[in-house]
Every structure is written in structure tokens, then in C-alpha cells.
Symmetry: C3
Subunit: 326 residues, 3 copies
């Protein structure tokens, strides 16, 4: 994925990477520089990639990466040009190395670089409330307003004619033209992603961002987490009501309408022209088609094809739901 | 409805109104002034009204309005004193004309007129935290406290002995005696009401307000939207727990108890002495009677008569629910 | 329970207590001092206790309290050393007397003693944002950061290496080492506990606190209420996602993972290594065992034994749920 915001702190020497992974037996003779960590498909020479499942063996065979974090049982799927680095838990190791390259993507402490908007160039350009703070690497277009106590933390681009409410916090996000974000929202924080571990869970880095396309509206008290390895996207002219939670990597299409207190779990993909009733929940890694209507309170735990109307927990065809519940 | 807050920007000439509605064939000879837009029942001479459904034909026949936004097929329901203005979509047209008369009711950008309470007359009268902001047209009674970073935006009346928490935002609301509003609430913003339209949804104006009657308590992180054509009302001595969402036009009776994370969709009417368990949801345009108990997690999708106990999704008699789920 | 924060305003003369309880017939000859109000088990000589149910008759017979608030029908369960004070509603009376001893535990108005962190000794010790406020009786350890507009109200202890987000409010809480609390949370406010009463509900005091143990993370927009007579506890290394509501007296074990928009009602006890899916709800006074998995959207209305996987509303064995919903 393209990454407009998180700075790559590499290159790192392969010996430093081996140290982090606690790999003692030296798999290399010369100490080369590693530029970046990417997936099997995107990675190139002098980069490191990872393989954690047989599902990806076709991609593995074509990878151009110089090194691959993998397991003993998967190492033979790699081409000879790619040196395997054998670990016990591939994803935990990937997390560690990604954190090495992108340390800013794992630390979500508040942005202490943010300063009062009146000390910035936006002072005369943006209609702003009291106590508005602006972080580094922020751009704001024409004819925008930002409410009281709102914090535009680092790595935010806001286009033209946008209205941001009060007490809202945004970071690592692209906000397109004519978007309204109402009060008390938090947008662009890391998702709820980590490796469970007794005593101290291990957070993995979120190098994705949040993209809110043109003409969207985000209701009060909503939270939209940024993606881990891809972006979280709210499509053009989609409206979210109050107290909605959109988890990391979720993608919502255009012209969709999502009522209050809906929650969409990580990595689910929602189509265009979708209507979701209040308090409905969508499980993670689900695909909801275009022109779908999901009744209020539904719990969607499997994919929904285009043009369906569903309701219930678990959600089923709405006629069936109403018949079963006469 | 009475409208204490939104200023009528009329009168407007009928020709200006016809322009907005894109009506070319002049239905009038002289260019008269129109004072206001109201419903069929309330409107008078020199005012404009609307008729979008045969359901209202009895009211239509008695309307005193000079003009009525309606369709070709409904125009014959009007008295001869009322000139029909023929449009394709009545409600969209009403929205446009209401926005013309009440432009302040459609723009919910943050209130940039709000100033620090220490620069107002409330300075010595109200116990206030740091960074408390007060908009125009605000009144506050005796013995009130307002927490840190709270924003009382324009058009708010707070009576006596009220306690408002920190980080809370209120606008277009009447708060009666002895009310407590806790932290991080947003009260009085427009509801989730608009006409879906590809590329750019059309918001309709919300000229209603929020009324919170005596002795109520509103929990942390709750949102209460103001009404569109009527008010949103929380009755006397009703308590709301945390993270509750009350949509536009909802009316809740007295002495009701609503537990955490409940959501009530638009225009529903809840009786008095009603108990609603945590995370329950009430669909829009539902009527819940007095003395009703709704179990936690229920989804109410049809009216509930007085004195009932219901549970389930969809909610049914609680005995039936427990029997079916043994 | 130990009470590190709420100050006991006693002792009070027994005649003053009788006055509050509206007891006319003098049960005592001499006017003794009462030091504290406690439960049957913990109370001692010169203290007052209460007995409101036959369930506790064994404890009652051994109480060392000098006085006991109870009813006519229960008074004979007490030893002769304990003088019964007969009232109609024991719990309401207890609430009144607890409020007398611990008035600070009933008033949850904003903390107007809080001052800017730059006016405190924490100025150089804590990495803090703009407009951070600190109340009385607050301690903060090494290497902590506190985000913009966050209010650490009175009675908060934060240990080392903690990261508190922006726009968050904390009071009456112990935050252990390495805890992260994200943005827009409210932690330590009183729970949703009161005696319903027409015209004006009667709040009871919450003398419990919130304890968040080591290595926890609390997601954006979450609310955690403090306990009434016991504490609310989040166990070591437990992670909460966004928009979660934890009611008063809830105890959650270690290494648990709770997804977005979950709600746990008052006094429920959740084990260790528990996973709760998004939007699930747990009723009050429920016991969920260790190593339990609760599917997203579930409604748990009865106890769940160790090592179970449940789903549904009401929640049942997950295999049964999936079979019934094929």
C-alpha cells in the first residue's frame, strides 16, 4: 500500500534484524542493508517479506525479496534468491520488524507536537474555535471550519469546504472535499490489533490511514480506526450517524447510510448504496455487497450478496426473519 | 410547533419561492409576500404549507394557507383559497423552502460566536471550570455548575440547580431545574435526517429543539439530537445511563430509567415509568406505552402496549421469550 | 472495603442519625458517637451496619456493630449487643446514612479544584498536552504522558509508564504501571445507581473506586464507572476496544480481550482469558468463568462456566447456536 504518512526509519543491517528476531545461526555471510518490509507481492531486492501460511505459496515462489520471515515447514516455498529467516511465530516477528522500520506507527500517544492554530499559517485561512490544535504535516484547504478544542494531530490532510466539529481528534487521515465530521469523534487511531500474550500483549503497528471521501458526514461520538496493513475507507457521500465504530481496514462504498451505534469489525468490506439500521453489527472479514439493506439490531456473521435485504441475529433474508418471528 | 430559537428570515416573495422550486409556469398574477412555512393545520393566510400524502386530505381541505407545495395528483384536495405549487418531490421541496426561512436550522457547524464564560455576565453567577464557552442567546439560572471545556453553544436555556459535566456540548436546548448532564455528551445537534441523493445527500433543516425536563440525569457520552419538525423531549425525572443515543423527535415520558448503550431511533414515543435494559434498541416511529419494561439487548420493532414486559429481538412478551429460550 | 479516597466526615451522634432516619422512638438512652457505616461483616463497636434480607442472617448474628438499620421482621436476627433501628426501606436509609458519612461520594459535579498542570509539581515530570488539568490528591509516576484537554480530577493515582490520551476524564481511580487509556474516555464517575422515586430519584453514594491493573489498554470513548460498595476492577493485561461501557462494581480478570461497543452491567464478574466479541452485552450480577469466549452481539443473561464458548441472545453453547441458525 502507498504510505503517505509513516516514515521509514530504515535501512537496517540484516544483523540488527536477526538480533531482534533472536536468530543465532547466521544465515548470511555478508552484512547487507535492508530497505523496507513489504508483503510477498510488493517486496523487492534488499527488502524483507514474510510467509505465514501455505495459502500464499504461489506468491512466495515469485517474491523478489532478499529475505523472508517464515517457518521451518514453509521455507521450501521460497525461491533460492530469497533467504528464509526461520522463526516460531511469523506474525509476531513481522510485527517486531515492522515496528523497527515504522516506529511511529505503533506509538499512539497523544501528539505533543500540536500547537495552537493561531500560531500556524492556518490562522487566517480556517474558521476555528478556541483551543484548536494543529500537529505536524497537516494541510487544510479553503473554506473549512474547525470547532473548539478539536485536535488535528500529525499527518492529516483536509481538503476544501470541510466542517470539523468540536472536541474531535483526527490523525493519520485524508479528509476529502465537503466532508463533515461532527463533535467528539476520534479518527485515525490505531485499531484493536495485537498479539495476545500473557502478562503483556504485543501491539502490532498500524501503517494504514483513514480515508474519508467527498461529501461524507460522520456523526457525533464516532470512532474510525486506521488500517493495519491497508487503509480504512469511507466512500463518497456515505453518511454515518452518531456513536458508530468503524474498525481498522474496513472499507465502505459510496452513498451508504449507517444509522446510530452500528459497529463494523476489522477488515470487513461494505458495498455501495448500503443501508444499515441502528445498532447492527458486522463481524470482521465479512463482505457485504452493493444495494444491501441490513435491519436495525442485526448481527451479520457471513457475507451478504448484492441487492439483499437481511435482518436478525444472525442476519438472514428479511422475509424469512419476519415470517419466523410472527 | 413553537420555535423559541430559530429565526425566521422571511418574508419572501412568492416569485423567489417559485424560483427555488424551479416552477416555471407562473401560478400567480401578483407577487405576494410569504411570511412562514408551516404544516397544513397551523398555517394561515400569507403562509405556505405542504401536502405529500392522501392521509392528510381532511386537514388539507381546511387549511388556511395561501399556497401549498404538493403533487399533480393531490392538488384537488386543497380548497380554492389555497394555490397548489406542483413539484415532483414534496418533501425535498419543503426542505428547500424551510431552509430558506430557517437557514440557521440546517447549518450545524460549530458555534464560532461562543466566548469564554469569564467574558460574560455568567462569570460570577455560575460555578464554571476552565475553558467554558458560552454562545449567543444563552440563559443560565441560579446555583448551576458547568465543567471544564464544556461548550454551551447558542440557543440554550438552563434553569436552576443544574450540573453540567466537562467536555459536553449543548445547543438549541431547554434544560429544566435540577438536571444533571454528565461528561462528553452532545445535545441539540441536528438529527440523522436527509434525503439520500447520489453524489450529495440533501440535509433537511431541523427546526425542533431538545427539552430536558426537571430532575433528569443524562449519562456520560450520550447524544440527544434535536427534532426536525417537532421537539425531542426527555420527561421529568427520567434517568439515562452512559452512551445512550436519542434520535430526533423522540419523546420519553416521566420517571423512566434507561440503561447504558440504549438507542432510540427517530420519532419514537416512549411512555412514563418505562424501564429499558442495557443495549436495547427501539426502531423509529414506534410507540411504547406506560409502565413498560424492556429487557436488555431487546430490539423493539413494533408498538408495545401499556404495562407490558418484553424481551428479545424482535421483542416479545418476556414469559414467551424465556419459555422459547429455555 | 478499603477506601483510599472518600473522606469519612464522622463521627456523628446517634441522635443525628435517628433524625435523618426520621425515627422518633428513642432506641437509646445515652447519646453515643458513631464512627462509620459498614457491612455486617466488617463493622465494629461504635459503628452502624444494615440488614435488609434474611439471606444475611448468619452474618447478622455475628456482627459487632453497635447499631443496625433493619426492618421490624428482621430485627430478631441481631445479637443483643446490636441495637436495631427500624425503618421501612433499609437500602434507602443506608443510602442516606452513607451520604452523611461520605458526602463526597454522592456529588459527582465536575472537579472545580483542578488546575493547569503547569501550575503543579508535575509540570516537569509528565509529558503533557495543552490545557491538562490536575485535581487534588493526584499522584503520577515516572515516564507518563497525558494528552490535550485531559482532566485528571481528584483522587487519582497513576503509576509509571502510563499513556493517557486527549479529552479524557479520570477521577477516583488507581491506574497501574504501563496502562494506556485512549481518547474521550470517562473513568471513575458514579455508576447508574439510585432508588427510583416519583418526582425525584434518590442517588446513592458510590464509595468504590476504579482499579485498572498493569498493562491494560482502554479504547477511545469508553466509560468505566466506579463501584458503589465495592470497586470496579480491570485485571492485568486486559484490553478494551473503543466505546465500551463497564458499569459499577464489575470485575474483569487478567488477559481478557473485549471488542468494541461491549457493555457489562453492574456487579458482573468476568474471569481471566475471556474473549468478548463486539457489541456483546452482559447482564448485571452475572458470573462469567475463565477461558470463556463470547461471540459478538451475544446477550449473556445467566452465568457462564469456565472454558465455554457461547453465542446468541440469550447466549448459549456456540455449537448449539450455529446448529439452530443454519
Amino acid at each position: 500500500m502507498s504510505n503517505p504518512f509513516f516514515k521509514n526509519k530504515g535501512p537496517f543491517l540484516i544483523t540488527d534484524i536477526l538480533n531482534i528476531l533472536n536468530i543465532k545461526t547466521e544465515p548470511v555471510k555478508t552484512n547487507v542493508s535492508i530497505i523496507d518490509i513489504k508483503d510477498l507481492y510488493s517486496s523487492n531486492n534488499s527488502e524483507i517479506t514474510f510467509l505465514h501460511s501455505k495459502k500464499y505459496k504461489d506468491l512466495a515462489q515469485k517474491t523478489k525479496a532478499s529475505f523472508c520471515i517464515t517457518t521451518e515447514s514453509l521455507k521450501n516455498e521460497l525461491p533460492t534468491s530469497c533467504i528464509p529467516l526461520i522463526v516460531k511465530n511469523v506474525l509476531v516477528s513481522v510485527s517486531k520488524i515492522t515496528s523497527m522500520f515504522y516506529p511511529d506507527a505503533i506509538n499512539d500517544d497523544f501528539d505533543d507536537s500540536a500547537i495552537d492554530i493561531n500560531q500556524t499559517n492556518f490562522k487566517d485561512k480556517v474558521i476555528s474555535g478556541k483551543n484548536v490544535l494543529i500537529g505536524k504535516n497537516v494541510s487544510i484547504g479553503k473554506n473549512c471550519s474547525i470547532g473548539h478544542n478539536t485536535i488535528i494531530e500529525k499527518n492529516v490532510s483536509i481538503e476544501n469546504n470541510c466542517s470539523i466539529g468540536s472536541n474531535t481528534i483526527i490523525r493519520n487521515s485524508l479528509i476529502s472535499n465537503n466532508v463533515k465530521v461532527l463533535d467528539n469523534c476520534v479518527i485515525g487511531k490505531h485499531g484493536f490489533g495485537f498479539f495476545p500474550d500473557k502478562n503483556k500483549n504485543l501491539r502490532y503497528p498500524h501503517i494504514g490511514i483513514v480515508i474519508i471521501e467527498e461529501n461524507c458526514e460522520i456523526g457525533c461520538g464516532s470512532t474510525i480506526d486506521r488500517g493495519s496493513m491497508s487503509n480504512t475507507v469511507i466512500g463518497k457521500n456515505t453518511y454515518l450517524d452518531n456513536q458508530i465504530h468503524i474498525a481498522h481496514n474496513v472499507k465502505i462504498g459510496e452513498n451508504s447510510i449507517i444509522a446510530g451505534q452500528v459497529g463494523i469489525a476489522g477488515s470487513s468490506i461494505i458495498g455501495s448504496n448500503v443501508k444499515i439500521g441502528g445498532q447492527a453489527g458486522i463481524s470482521g472479514h465479512i463482505k457485504v455487497g452493493n444495494n444491501v439493506e441490513i435491519g436495525g439490531g442485526s448481527g451479520v456473521i457471513k457475507n451478504i450478496p448484492d441487492n439483499s435485504k437481511v435482518m436478525g441475529y444472525p442476519a438472514k433474508n428479511i422475509r424469512e426473519f419476519l415470517r419466523d418471528n410472527k
